[in-house]
């Protein structure tokens, strides 16, 4: 379980996140929703350790995040960020293999290659395996990054519960792959019950269909948190997004 306690983040006098306390239950898919500038990305970057909180604490299974070394974090937690830029020609399988870097010293072991193969297959990349990453389309690149982060947390290490953080992972994907990828993640979670997924997504319909729990952010604070159907009601959506929706719009 990941718990946040009075998490606050200020930069240059701007309050990007104010006193957020949340608990992310193990084994569930949590989706963070909210309008632009509500603090979604800030929240996920604080949980990943990319940003240091101005106040408050983040705990992974009762261990404060700053007490876990960067190296150890990489063993049980993977992060897919926005705007990955690569300026060198790498082959797809080399990018995926990077997900295994925290797990081996020197040369990759047989198990590392095996996991990469499985992850490549899971994201439908077998035919692109030897392609130059720079020549791929935006959506293909995104799938390669998915395969990389899944290779990183493919297996539990020392029984530690695994965590996957996704910051707007569906941006470059077409409708088919948006649904396909979410489904793939859900299937993977079903056979890996220790894996907690926390993701920022823009699409309410995707959230309604796939999330177990939803966090609704509004003006740098949490507006509502709880089971998807309870949070995504027309009043909440109207307050936060300023649009009217009918009841059946988001009903599962």
């Amino acid at each position: 379980m990941i718990s946040l306690e009075n998490l606050t983040y200020h930069i240059k006098g701007k309050h990007l996140l104010e006193s957020v306390s949340l608990a992310f239950e193990k084994g569930k898919m949590h989706i963070i929703l909210g309008p632009n500038g509500a603090g979604k990305s800030t929240l996920i970057r604080l949980i990943s350790g990319e940003l240091k909180p101005s106040a408050g604490t983040i705990r992974y299974n009762d261990m404060p995040l700053h007490g876990i070394s960067v190296k150890e974090q990489a063993l049980f937690r993977a992060v897919l960020s926005q705007n990955l830029e690569v300026s060198f020609p790498l082959r797809v399988h080399e990018v995926v293999l990077m997900g295994r870097y925290p797990h081996f010293v020197g040369s990759p072991r047989a198990i590392d290659h095996e996991i990469c193969e499985k992850s490549i297959h899971l994201f439908d990349l077998d035919e692109l395996k030897n392609r130059n990453y720079l020549t791929l389309s935006g959506g293909e690149k995104q799938r390669v990054q998915f395969a990389r982060v899944f290779a990183q947390i493919w297996e539990p290490i020392d029984g530690k519960p695994r965590v996957l953080l996704l910051d707007e992972p569906l941006t470059f994907l077409d409708l088919y792959y948006q649904y396909h990828l979410m489904k793939t993640i859900k299937t993977f979670m079903a056979s890996n019950p220790d894996l907690t997924v926390i993701g920022v997504v823009h699409d309410i319909i995707i959230a309604a269909k796939f999330a177990d729990q939803v966090v609704l952010m509004h003006q740098s604070k949490t507006f509502a948190q709880g089971p998807t159907h309870a949070v995504l009601n027309p009043e909440n959506i109207h307050t936060v997004f300023k649009i009217m929706v009918e009841d059946q719009f988001i009903v599962k």
Partner: protein, 342 residues
Amino acid sequence: MKPINNRITGLALLALLLCTALLSAKLGAVPISLQEIKNAFMHLINGNEIIELNERIFLQIRLPRVLMGIFVGAALAVGGVLTQALFRNPIVEPGLIGTSSGAAFGAALYFVLGATFGSNWGEWTLPIAACIGGTVATVMVLFLAQSKNDHRRGVASLLLSGIAINALFLSGVGFLSYIARDPQARSITFWNLGTLSGSYWEALYIVLSVTSICIWFSLRLAKQLNALMLGEQEAQLLGINIPQLKLMVLCLNVIMVAVSTAFVGVIGFVGLIVPHFLRMIQGADNRFLLWGGALLGAWVLTASDLLARLLLAPAELPIGIVTSLIGVPVFIILLKRTNYLF
């Protein structure tokens, strides 16, 4: 397209290097036959007095020169791979970020004023002076390139700062050459264009040991440098200690390039084109680029030195002119390409 196996490419490079090195040992102002090379080695092993002039030329002049070319080439190319990986940009090299000119200045300062300071660590004084110069210049470039507004170091500002600092240190070298009495320091062409003609065994031992140790350490960083291609943040999320890695890479780069520069002068473009070319045929995996770059860099410098001796024989061209003649067009072609394809 099926990628070519890294080992096959490596073996091909090694074979090419050995053939060129042998050719380079034979050809020159005085041609030396294979028989004479063999005799020279036999005499060396048996500890006999060497009588023949050609054998002596081979052992005392030609052989250290060829070996010097191999190790300096390897050092420059690996320095290029390291800097490009560190700055996540394929158009930087040690010569562009001040390392080489700073090292040349440090070495020239030692030649001209070393006696005045009275500091002496024997054979190692010159390389240490070069390392200090290289470090100062590199740190100055990095410092100037850091913009106040954000922490990202733009490559444009890096290259522009490099131009300024290079100009400063090379004019410093020019000034020292102007006031120098030592004949080697007085030759400004030596510093600006480089030459392997002054190679001797003691210098070779220093370059050989420093280069080998630094390349060995670099190879251990290959995985971390690969992760850096995704960005510093991503690399950190893969469990890599970024500040430590950056410091290691900069130190290795400065030491390797400065020590080479101290003995052969500033030789440009090797660190730029070697990693570029290898990336085009094999991709950007640093686990291959580092050792493959060492082999290809060694070959490029050996071949350039051979050309430098042959083009105007019996006179000699400074090797920097040859590497620039090959390097500049390649660099321009590479600049025009938007993407690598393989």
